[in-house]
């Protein structure tokens, strides 16, 4: 009962945090037909700044810290990413009116990671004063890439079988394309700079200074985009809507569980467990879609981008962030 009360309270507080408010504001503006529009150059710069900031901080932390502690969480991240794809294959792909390749592309996006959702979660934890290892966001690629690779491989195996052909999918090009995408590149560049140089001054005076503000700009953009992509969903089966609503929570719970194991085994911080759950609950909005469009050309982008950007991201931010905060508080007695 208390837990429920607390849930509603945290939930309401979360609705008043600017992060979520800006997301909903963007959705609302788009829904009301507003011509409000963040220029593409600004949007891309916000993404760059966000991922550099996350990367630099991660790099500085790894520099000072114990890289060994990352191993188990990194392994678990890969397991989570692939589990999500398999789960999608076992659920969404079996539904009536859902094409198998569309379902796999969708599961791939939900297994992959949203940098902006992750950033929003980091803020929430900082605001709540809950510690997490600064390298946790650097787990991003360990979850993102295996999910995308597995989705593409399974889809192509399925399509080959259907065609009776036997061509195999090369994995390395997919990994390479992911790593070379603007999002992961920026984060890895940030990690390298944090690791090998002394960027403290510029980190604090620029990247960190503008982080919170640029995230609000990004949230407005995501909100506008979410509304527009919702329209695309009208053209596809209703199962996508159900999947996109429910599965982020399931994915987060799986990650929370594995994170808890890491907590017990290697002392992974409670904040890290919460963040890992939210990363798993998030679905890719930047780097995933182009990789999938090229990797599973037969899949209809309206289905997977509509599910992820239109529903997955708002659910991850509005519901999963407060949910896993509360769960973490309750489990770890924070």
């Amino acid at each position: 009962m208390d837990v429920l009360l607390e849930f509603f309270h945290t939930f309401l507080t979360q609705f008043q945090t600017p992060t979520l408010a800006f997301l909903l504001g963007g959705m609302l503006a788009a829904a009301l037909g507003s011509k409000l529009d963040i220029p593409d150059a600004i949007y891309r710069f916000c993404v760059f700044m966000l991922l550099m900031r996350i990367g630099i901080q991660g790099g500085m932390e790894i520099r000072g810290g114990d890289i060994g502690a990352m191993l188990l969480p990194a392994l678990f991240s890969a397991v989570i990413g692939m589990t999500i794809v398999v789960l999608g294959w076992l659920t969404l792909a079996r539904m009536n009116g859902v094409k198998k390749d569309d379902a796999l592309a969708t599961a791939g996006l939900f297994g992959a990671v949203s940098a902006s959702t992750m950033a929003a979660a980091m803020f929430m934890l900082e605001d709540e004063g809950i510690y997490f290892e600064a390298w946790v966001p650097a787990l991003y690629p360990f979850m993102d890439i295996p999910a995308l690779v597995l989705a593409i491989v399974l889809a192509n195996m399925y399509l080959s079988k259907k065609d009776g052909s036997t061509k195999r999918v090369a994995i390395w090009p997919i990994v390479k394309e992911s790593l070379q995408g603007p999002a992961l590149s920026a984060m890895l560049l940030g990690v390298a700079i944090g690791l090998f140089t002394r960027p403290e001054a510029v980190f604090e005076g620029f990247y960190d200074l503008l982080f919170r503000g640029l995230l609000t700009v990004l949230m407005i953009t995501m909100g506008i985009e979410a509304y527009q992509r919702l329209n695309e969903l009208r053209k596809v089966a209703h199962w996508y809507i159900a999947y996109a609503f429910v599965m982020p929570i399931v994915h987060g719970l799986i990650a929370f569980g594995l994170g808890y194991v890491a907590h017990v085994l290697v002392g992974f911080s409670p904040g890290g467990v919460i963040l890992l759950a939210i990363i798993a609950a998030s679905s890719s909005d930047i780097s995933g879609p182009p990789t999938l469009r090229a990797g599973i050309p037969t899949a209809n982008p309206s289905s997977y981008i509509g599910s992820s950007t239109g529903i997955g991201t708002p659910v991850a931010i509005a519901i999963c962030i407060p949910l896993f905060l509360i769960l973490g508080r309750w489990v770890f007695d924070l």
């Binding site: 953009t221 992509r229 930047i286």
Partner: protein, 104 residues
């Protein structure tokens, strides 16, 4: 001084730019000119999206000038058979007259 040539135009998804150019070059094109474009066809509206999806939900218009009609036909056939099953796109040819034919 002006000589007959063909202009092949391909309007398709932005992410296909490099691939279509490679295909056309292999078919004998000597160059290309490309601009980004918005549009609408039987697969729905395609405009500069805000986010990373800009690559997926917006178009590129690519033009190939060639003095050899069979190259034009080859480009069109290649693009249609390779990409237009799974990707949005249209393709058409125009008659043009070029200066300095040796270039094409």
């Amino acid at each position: 001084m002006l000589n007959k040539a063909k202009k092949v135009v391909v309007v398709t998804e932005k992410i296909l730019l490099d691939k279509v150019v490679t295909l056309a070059m292999a078919a004998g094109a000597t160059g290309y000119t490309a601009v980004y474009a918005n549009g609408q066809g039987h697969r729905g509206v395609r405009s500069d999206a805000l986010s990373g999806h800009g690559e997926i939900f917006s178009n590129v218009k690519i033009e190939f000038i060639t003095a050899r009609p069979e190259v034009a036909q080859k480009i069109i056939d290649g693009v249609v058979s390779t990409y237009f099953g799974n990707y949005s796109g249209i393709s058409y040819v125009e008659d043009v007259e070029v200066a300095r034919t040796s270039q094409f």
